[in-house]
Symmetry: C2
């Protein structure tokens, strides 16, 4: 099966080309050559560009024929790139998309300031659309993203973290931008309210599903395939759905273990293996996959009110594809 | 003489009270309690609130009677606070406004993310004004600020830094927000174009003058008063107008000295004293003061086209006051 993501890319190839031209144009800075160096490193590394594709698809599905979905797609990618730069500083990451991170290649200072620059540039791009409703949506998304990141910072290492808090965090770190990306596509196309609401719900639920699967894959997926690097979240003492569910079901002995490795940060040889066993014992990887499936289905169902089209079908297929990664 | 800044504060006390209420309201976050902790530390420390006062004054001088100058004043203070949080991370500062910095009290992560949050909140506040022109001005200012900071980062330690580069840096780090603060006051009041342009020029020139004086005071001012802590910029290898001017006039021996202390970063006992002597030899502290005076006068002159009022007089007096600090 061709990936629905690649089908979207193929159908929207012309528009994505325009988005890429706009991104390269706007990430330049005559005054500060460091800026395009850093952004090029990240932007040219070729992330999937999933978020701008969502914006383009949403606008086209709603019949948009103007030029501003290009600006909005570039805006969304700039916001995403800015948050990646800042995330890598916050997480002290060394690798991203298979390359060394900007904070490692240059320094934290450059990552912070270039992130600020991209965020400002995204803001300029959206102002050019001349649509206050779009600005409102993206301003709110930006605040939710930052709030989610701070919440994650303070919730990390806290073994009392609830699923409710987990969902707040991933709404901020992932779903807020997904839902803003799809919603603004509908708004710029002047789609009816129910279609705009459907696009927002789709983006939100897809983003949640996407992040749950990411967190699941960090423990090898539902099949606990141990082939690739796993356990980053464990080592970084980041509680995610598989561990939150396991802690909720833990007996006293297990709880003491989770307290040791997450709250106290005392991680010894064999602890990741013990964690994996506990996830298996309480079947939380399957439960996590079920949660991802639930949100994926919710995303797909939201599309019902939208007019039928090839693009819409690919968005629907995308919800399945996201969850299939979790196997 | 009562400081013109205090006269402005007194005349605009009611509006500033509303601005403070709005700031406290918007810096809250139910989801992430770390956010108000960090912002309260900085906001309650009581900076001068000069930038929001400029916005309020500009709007009132142009006859504005609506509610949105309050939002814009809070916006400007939020942008300023966000940049301070990020600056302290970039500069690895320990003290700000006589208190320990947030990056020291919490961590760099919190400073980066809370800065992002405040920036997003500022963005929400300005969207509420419903005025695209205002959004355009503040988006451009934000990009200029970030660009200036990156430029400063890369220009630091480079003894070939020109005055032209210096002015680009301080336009970014200081004047861009000053001029946006005054300009949006005129725009929200629907002032005629020549008045809006005058307010922009005033803010730009006042900001440049203000920053030149700050940089001058870091070497004790034009009278080289050594009473308080001086030489921060020297130790941080930041080239500013006094040293840029001295390097331009340096003989080979002196140039080797500047290369050693700024480019190579080899600073030994007595080097700050030698630097001070060279500034004196080439009379660059007085030349720097002259530059501050020039920009102060330019700011004052820009006010000519505005209608006469008590507030306008205080803005004019402010240009003198800023430079008087330089003695």
């Amino acid at each position: 099966m061709t990936k629905p993501f690649e089908m979207l890319s193929a159908l929207l190839a012309d528009e994505m080309q325009s988005v890429n031209v706009l991104i390269r144009d706007r990430m330049a800075s005559k005054n500060a050559p460091r800026i395009p160096e850093v952004t090029a490193h990240l932007v040219e590394a070729g992330g999937k560009r999933l978020r701008p594709l969502l914006t383009l698809a949403a606008a086209k599905i709603c019949g948009y024929e103007g030029p501003y979905h290009i600006h909005l797609a570039a805006t969304v990618e700039f916001i995403h790139t800015a948050t990646l730069l800042h995330d890598d500083v916050v997480d002290e990451s060394n690798m991203r998309r298979g390359r060394k991170t900007a904070n490692l290649l240059w320094d934290n200072k450059s990552s912070v300031l270039v992130g600020d620059y991209l965020f400002s540039r995204s803001f300029q791009l959206m102002v050019e659309t001349g649509r206050l409703e779009v600005l409102d949506i993206l301003a709110n998304a930006s605040a939710t993203i930052a709030e989610g990141e701070v919440l994650q910072l303070t919730a990390a290492q806290d073994i009392n973290t609830t699923e409710e808090t987990y969902y707040k965090v991933i709404r901020g770190k992932t779903a807020a931008l997904f839902s803003a990306a799809t919603k603004v596509g509908g708004v710029i196309a002047d789609a009816p309210d129910d279609q705009v609401a459907a696009l927002e719900t789709y983006g939100d639920a897809l983003g949640i599903s996407f992040q749950i699967v990411d967190d699941l894959l960090d423990y090898g997926g539902a099949s606990q395939s141990l082939g690739k690097e796993i356990g980053d979240d464990f080592r970084e003492r980041k509680l995610t759905l598989p561990t939150i569910k396991a802690i909720a079901l833990a007996n006293d002995d297990e709880r003491a273990f989770w307290d040791k490795v997450f709250a106290k940060g005392q991680q010894d040889t064999g602890d990741l293996e013990r964690a994996m066993e506990l996830l298996k014992k309480h079947d939380t990887l399957n439960a996590t996959k079920e949660a991802a499936l639930h949100w994926g289905q919710k995303a797909k169902k939201a599309l019902d009110v939208l007019p039928a089209s090839e693009l819409k079908q690919h968005l629907a297929d995308l919800t399945d594809f996201v969850v299939q990664r979790a196997v």
